[in-house]
Symmetry: C2
């Protein structure tokens, strides 16, 4: 591993997991961390998310040849400014944000003399904060690196090696294409989930208690991703606006067609649409991106269940 | 338990689970089953989904004082007609369908002289067919019974007892209200999931392979329920049209507001909306309707993970 010391700025789910994973998989690398919230720093020390937790961002990055910003997308620019005084001139600056064009612009503006190589590990849970991270979060998950045009290839390779060591499979992608792909696979699903959970909780005809009681019919799956960090997601939508709006309009068109099929009683159209989607599920499971157990294995927690295994 | 023999018509996920659960929890009750598909009957015999599997629907219900129809909503009427020749005059006719007004009408029309008490266990997985059922499917799940106005109270109580014995908590509800509640908590989530999975698989800018690869960003949660049985779901939307359309229009209004907030860069509106939804998730978990483990415990399958427990 070419890097000697990685500094992690922001110690929530992603930052904490990187710290734990680096210590587990790359014992030769020094790890230091910082979070703007003193309580998070305290908890990070208790959990040992990094070997050292600094009380100042510029102090955290001292001596680091890799700095990974793990703050909400909208805070990337100011986080980059805050670390500037302590940065080694040859440090590689990276991040884990979910919209890559806007972050590339913000980091390059804040640190014009540094090598900036944005990255996005496509991994997460609905939890956030310093207690949420765990070392295996990136196992069998993709990490998309979006190097700017003139990024030194050697540094891109080093960053790829780092993520591979944490268990990820690395993909190099153009930032604009990344933003479109993630709009479909992540941003729109979150937006839909937040919206339907909001709709369901504001109805007059159906009480919130009823929605909660009968959520096992499908609704509860949406509540999981709608429990994700609000600040993080607000920033994603503010910063990947164009791709999100484009994909949302496709979805709205398709939903309008589905609405018309229901209104007209067009069972054939519905059956055709509903049949197409099973194949995609099967391939996601084959590729190890989800759990093949029915219901994700939720029933395995049920002490009365001996049928599932 | 007042019932002596339960007959189950349709041996997929729900029917098979009832058969297994009844044999496990109610050993004093005789179970018999039928499915229109000879291959399903063969598999049902191999798995022992019921004590006896008949090759004829009227034969399956002979001597049964409880008959539960577990066929797609659109097939309820013809299934009821098929069992009529073998029915005891005092048999209670029930079902497990997801839209209750239309089923009540179909069953009463087909069997005008019988006591019809529709019911809906709010439980399921994305699997279907005779291999999908398991005895604990109904544990800690709600079963909604929607008795018609003149249903004999004693029979309603008997049916409630049956479902409680299978592990469910029973709720009595008006059929119309049921259809509205389930439109929100189950039908609309399935429709949205089917639609977004369809949208994502038909894009030009983003390949299907990319959608599958990066599905861990949120999309994969939607593919689970979009893998549900197409016939069953087509019938649900054909038979609960009004409530589904009404709820869909609420959702579309809210999604339009979200779209406008993104377009206008209204971060405050988004943050407020995204913050509301966490409380609902928490209550669903408190009430035992979902798994509190991050990511539903998916990571527990990862052999490298020692952090989660």
């Amino acid at each position: 591993m070419s890097f000697e010391k990685v500094a992690i700025i922001g110690l929530g789910l992603l930052g904490g997991s990187i710290g734990l994973a680096a210590q587990e998989h790359l014992p030769g690398i020094a790890t230091s961390g910082f979070d703007a919230d003193p309580k998070v720093r305290e908890r990070a020390r208790e959990r040992g998310l990094c070997a050292t937790i600094a009380d100042d961002p510029a102090e955290a990055v001292q001596g680091a040849d890799l700095v990974i910003l793990c703050v909400p997308v909208g805070a990337m620019g100011s986080a980059a400014e805050a670390i500037a005084p302590g940065l080694r001139p040859d440090a590689v600056i990276s991040d884990v944000g979910s919209s890559k064009q806007s972050i590339a612009a913000a980091l390059s503006a804040a640190l014009p003399d540094h090598v900036v190589i944005p990255a996005h590990p496509v991994a997460g849970t609905e939890q956030s904060g310093p207690d949420a991270g765990f070392a295996s979060l990136f196992h069998h998950r993709w990490c998309i690196i979006t190097p700017p045009e003139h990024a030194p290839q050697g540094k891109v390779d080093d960053l790829a090696e780092f993520w591979k060591a944490l268990g990820s499979t690395v993909e190099i992608m153009d930032a604009q294409h990344h933003d479109m792909v993630l709009a479909v696979t992540s941003h729109i699903p979150h937006l839909i989930a937040y919206t339907i959970v909001g709709t369901a909780s504001d109805l007059e005809e159906v009480t919130r208690g009823e929605v909660i009681k009968y959520s096992a019919g499908g609704f509860r799956d949406f509540t999981r991703i709608a429990a994700s960090d609000p600040t993080m997601w607000r920033d994603v939508f503010l910063n990947n606006k164009e791709a999100v709006l484009e994909m949302m309009d496709r979805f709205l068109t398709d939903l309008g067609m589905m609405r018309e099929a229901i209104r007209a009683g067009d069972g054939e159209m519905m059956f055709d649409q509903f049949s197409k989607t099973r194949a995609i599920r099967r391939r996601i499971i084959e590729q190890g991106q989800d759990d093949a157990r029915p219901d994700f294995g939720r029933h395995e927690h049920d002490p009365g269940d001996n049928e599932q295994e």
